[in-house]
């Protein structure tokens, strides 16, 4: 697959942005600047970026509890995200949603979701809207391998496949659902096998290879846009940290396994290949990284300086005015 230099750089940039944002969240959490918890995307950056780089602005995505990466890849604003994570009124949801519920419909981001599998039937509805409106949008539905054991997964994919909806179901198989490994939660090796249950294509891809993800996603997205229906893509990957910022993630995973996957870092590998292919030099990459770090620092500053919503605002937004 031939991609322009701009595209490749943009992909690296987005991956770095996610990585840097998530590392900042760890920091923000440790500093006590953030209420509650957050589920970090570190290690899985190639998936969100590889998929979303194929999308148009008005395409839809639905996200999960582990959603920051999807949002950034779809164009989310770091300031508004960080402010939301900190519960500030300048956040995407005015502080009402927090890390797990960020929505930005103006970017096609139709909501992260705290209920595992909860967004899968919703994605079906978004896909149906595109079919009915003939707006040629595509809906990307992100979820984990753990979610593929939920009833909502089954109902969502059954309806999506039945009606040939323009949806790409992207399963990020990071091998664990909290502490439960994939092989302790399902009797199959590949989640992609489940595509057979719905008569749609099932694809398996190295989720740590952004170009591979891009290619598979492109095919599925085109398929969807051409009215040929849904695809289930399984991206094999790994969650570097614990389940959330407060979980070291060491109690149920062998250190060797963690190390193995860190060695397969999606960013390191991609950087290496871009340098090798002379798309970028190390210095250029360093500059990009510095620029992103500054933007993330600014996002932290923006969020910290923002105020909390006024308490009475808790009574708004239950119903439309």
């Amino acid at each position: 697959m031939k991609l322009s230099k701009e595209k490749l750089v943009e992909m690296l940039r987005k991956m770095l942005e996610i990585r840097c944002f998530e590392e900042a969240i760890y920091y923000v959490y440790a500093q006590g600047w953030m209420p509650g918890l957050a589920h970090l995307y570190i290690g899985q950056e190639a998936i969100a970026v590889g998929v979303c780089e194929n999308l148009k602005k008005d395409d839809y995505i639905t996200s999960t509890h582990r959603g920051h990466g999807h949002l950034i890849a779809k164009g989310g604003d770091l300031n508004k995200m960080m402010a939301e994570v900190m519960g500030k009124v300048t956040g995407y949801c005015k502080g009402k949603g927090g890390s797990m519920h960020i929505a930005a419909p103006e970017l096609g981001i139709m909501g992260a979701n705290g209920i595992v599998g909860g967004s899968i039937p919703i994605a079906t509805g978004l896909g149906l809207s595109s079919k009915l409106e003939k707006d040629s949008r595509v809906t990307i539905c992100f979820f984990g391998e753990g979610a593929s054991n939920q009833g909502a997964f089954h109902e969502g994919l059954n309806m999506g496949s039945l009606w040939k909806l323009p949806i790409v179901y992207v399963c990020e198989n990071n091998l664990y659902a909290i502490s439960v490994s994939q092989q302790r939660s399902q009797n199959i090796e590949d989640v992609a096998t489940r595509a057979k249950a719905y008569g749609i294509p099932g694809e398996i891809v190295d989720g740590n290879d952004v170009l591979a993800v891009y290619e598979v996603a492109q095919k599925a997205i085109n398929h969807a846009r051409e009215g040929k229906g849904s695809t289930l893509i399984e991206c094999k990957t790994y969650r570097w940290g614990g389940h959330h910022v407060g979980d070291p993630g060491t109690a149920y995973r062998p250190p060797k396994e963690v190390k193995l996957w860190k060695d397969k870092c999606p960013i390191k590998g991609f950087k290496f290949s871009l340098i090798k292919r002379k798309i970028l030099t190390q210095t250029e990459i360093d500059n990009i990284e510095n620029e992103i770090k500054q933007r993330v620092d600014k996002a932290i500053e923006f969020a910290r300086k923002s105020s909390y919503p006024a308490p009475e605002e808790a009574l708004d937004d239950i119903f439309a005015k």
Binding site: K94, H101, P105, G111, G125, L126, S129, I318
Partner: protein, 324 residues
């Protein structure tokens, strides 16, 4: 005035709204070719086609989730859950998704969704097809809850529900789908949040929901013969609740009987009673009486079912008791 059935009134409301707003779509199990298990969507598939009247698989979470997605994308879906008991298989999408999306998104997303389902025992359908579960949804902020008591009410309220910007649960009554009532030919809507005084009276107030309105009216007739003047209020919407109408009535009569087909324990009769007690404690001449389903699952056998349901006799006895 012409008379049509409750089911026909629903169908008319749907058809009218579908004609004037192409974003209105109907989905659910057997709502298309069959025209609905209770025939409340009969003819829509023929008029509007399979793109706007969708027969779905037996997937209640899928149905409501799909409707949520459609609503977020600008449609006005009307989803049917064939029996009120099946809210249980869709509960996450109703409660954790539809009800909360506007709030969680800080007002960015809207879910103008109508969920049509029903309540009501009395048909020997046993414990899994007879529940009246509306109280749960009054306990779920973010949902509006409607309980139409007649063909007239169901048509007017459903039309308002479809035009509403928020998720509305409309609890129809299985025993009423075939029952006829007067419905004007000309278009009308009934706004959400207004109770209706079905009969004025000065001695005792009965607040009733759904089919219990009619039962209460019959009891009121009977009591009239004993020179007891009953004021019957059709609550019509539970959320938002028309406190003013209720309070004014209780101020006048000082005595209140609340009639609802849900299970009594932790049901909607409790909320109404407490609200009244809180607002007009000093006007009450005695404790409020609640007539509701016994605290049991619904049994199959007719004499058992009759025993647990709120009946005219029980309403009558409650009024007599309160007047003692």
């Amino acid at each position: 005035m012409r008379e049509i059935t409750y089911a026909q009134a629903i169908k008319e409301a749907l058809a009218e709204e579908m004609r004037c707003d192409e974003n209105v779509v109907v989905l659910g199990e057997d709502v298309g070719i069959l025209g609905g298990n209770f025939r409340a969507t009969a003819g829509l598939y023929q008029e509007f086609g399979e793109k706007r009247v969708l027969d779905t698989p037996i997937s209640e979470s899928g149905i409501i989730g799909c409707a949520v997605g459609l609503a977020m994308a600008g449609f006005r879906p009307v989803a049917e859950l064939m029996f009120g008991d099946f809210v249980c298989t869709a509960m996450d999408q109703i409660v954790n998704q539809a009800a909360k999306i506007r709030y969680m998104s800080g007002g960015k997303l809207s879910v103008p969704l109508v969920i049509r389902t029903n309540i009501g025992a009395g048909r020997s359908s046993a414990a899994q097809h007879s529940q009246s579960l509306h109280a749960w949804f009054c306990h779920t902020p973010g949902l509006k809850v409607i309980m139409p008591s007649s063909p007239y009410e169901v048509k007017g309220l459903l039309k308002s529900a479809i035009r509403d910007e928020d998720p509305v649960m409309i609890f129809e009554h299985k025993g009423m789908y075939n029952k006829k009532g007067e419905v004007p030919e000309e278009e009308y809507t009934i706004s959400i949040g207004n109770a209706d005084i079905k009969r004025e009276g000065k001695d005792v107030t009965i607040i009733a929901t759904s089919s219990m309105v009619k039962e209460s009216m019959i009891v009121a007739d009977r009591l009239k013969e004993e020179d007891i003047k009953v004021e019957v209020i059709d609550l019509r919407t539970l959320v938002p609740m028309d406190k003013t109408t209720i309070i004014n009535s209780v101020k006048k009569t000082g005595r209140l009987v609340i009639v609802d087909e849900g299970v009594k324990q932790a049901g909607i009769t409790a909320e109404i009673a407490v609200m009244v007690t809180e607002e007009v404690f000093d006007f009450l001449d005695g404790p409020i009486e609640r007539v509701a389903n016994e605290n049991t699952p619904i049994p199959f056998s007719p004499p058992l079912e009759e025993f647990v349901r709120p009946t005219q006799e029980k309403i009558y006895q409650a009024v007599k008791k309160i007047l003692k």
